[in-house]
Symmetry: C2
Subunit: 179 residues, 2 copies
DNA sequence: AATTTATTTCATAGATTTCTGTAAAGACAG
DNA sequence: CTGTCTTTACAGAAATCTATGAAATAAATT
């Protein structure tokens, strides 16, 4: 990892590890980290040099980041190479990631749970009845999460932040006790 | 996958796939799915038979689930084998998972971001200054999420659910516009 | 203590994912 | 159209992760 100050290396390596814990390829996460803290857009070659990974790996990883919608191509005048830059606003970034995860993970799970609960029909034994009940509970939970995501998505960032910051005060206002 | 109705198989297979997208071993997720919809605690042997995986795999996976705190050992009278049951309440389940993910992922990231921002010191060039600024933004975001988690954890389930369900109404009450 | 039953550990086989180098394709200037 | 620069696709190598069976350990029963 060349030409990067230690604090940046620190962060990039950690972000890479964190990525793997979330099912995201290490290199993909590292490239994202690099672009996120880089003021100027970088070209693929530059990313290669800094992270010390193969050109083709960078190419594929960049495509993956573009699929997620958190990295964009830009062109600099007088340079025909593609340059890449990350979404720089933290809230915008996580909003995009949340929306994408919902689409890829929550939505298919909702469909599966509906289908499974449906297929269970009228259970003819207690075990199946119990299982169906559990699936319905899970479905209810995922529906709640899904609706919440959508509400957040329609909200301006400021409102969403307020909800996160004031979570406990809101609960008190609603007349419920916090332990 | 033997002795399970199709709707249960459906769910277990999907939960397994979903697990892999979240960095959780497929078998671990499948075992959890099975225990979650099973009214009675199951022993390792029973899990083997139903899922068709090796005994040792089940043993290790069960240990992993116990580390997460979402599966517990119980003993049935007159049977010396360990039996296992999942946390059955959906809210309780996700509360535990969230707390655990915070501990394993958010907290280390907070530490790393603080360390990195700290190491950056007084940047002596604009690029480093920008990078440090981005890290500080990220740190602020993770601190917000971390605090929110903790607030939720101290709240009774009902209050947490209210916040999730009423997200947009709350925002309106706070005097902010939803798009 | 010996036997039976249950569980865990561990080395390795197997599968999957990731990374690389090369070759092909595409884009552009002259 | 040709030559150069750039990006992408792909096949195989390398690394990582997962699952297995056998052996070791532990626990209960006789």
């Amino acid at each position: 990892m060349i030409g990067l100050p230690p604090f940046a290396q620190n962060f990039i390596l950690h972000w890479g590890e964190m990525g793997t814990k979330w099912g995201i390829n290490r290199t993909v996460a590292q490239i994202h980290a690099l672009l996120f803290i880089s003021e100027e857009p970088l070209n693929a070659e530059g990313i290669c040099n800094r992270l010390g990974v193969a050109r083709s790996n960078v190419s594929n990883s960049l495509k993956e980041l573009q699929n997620w919608g958190i990295v964009n191509v830009v062109h600099l005048p007088g340079d025909r190479r593609d340059h890449f830059e990350s979404v720089k606003d933290v809230y915008e970034l996580f909003r995009i990631i949340a929306t994408e995860r919902k689409r890829r993970e929550i939505d298919p799970t909702l469909r599966n749970l509906r289908k499974s609960a449906d297929e269970a029909g009228e259970p003819n034994n207690p075990a199946d009845a119990y299982a169906k009940g559990q699936l319905e509970d899970l479905l209810g939970f995922f529906e709640m999460i899904s609706d919440f995501y959508e509400k957040m998505d329609r909200m301006p960032t400021k409102s969403a932040v307020k909800i996160f910051r004031m979570g406990d005060k809101i609960a008190k206002t609603l007349g419920v006790i916090t332990k």
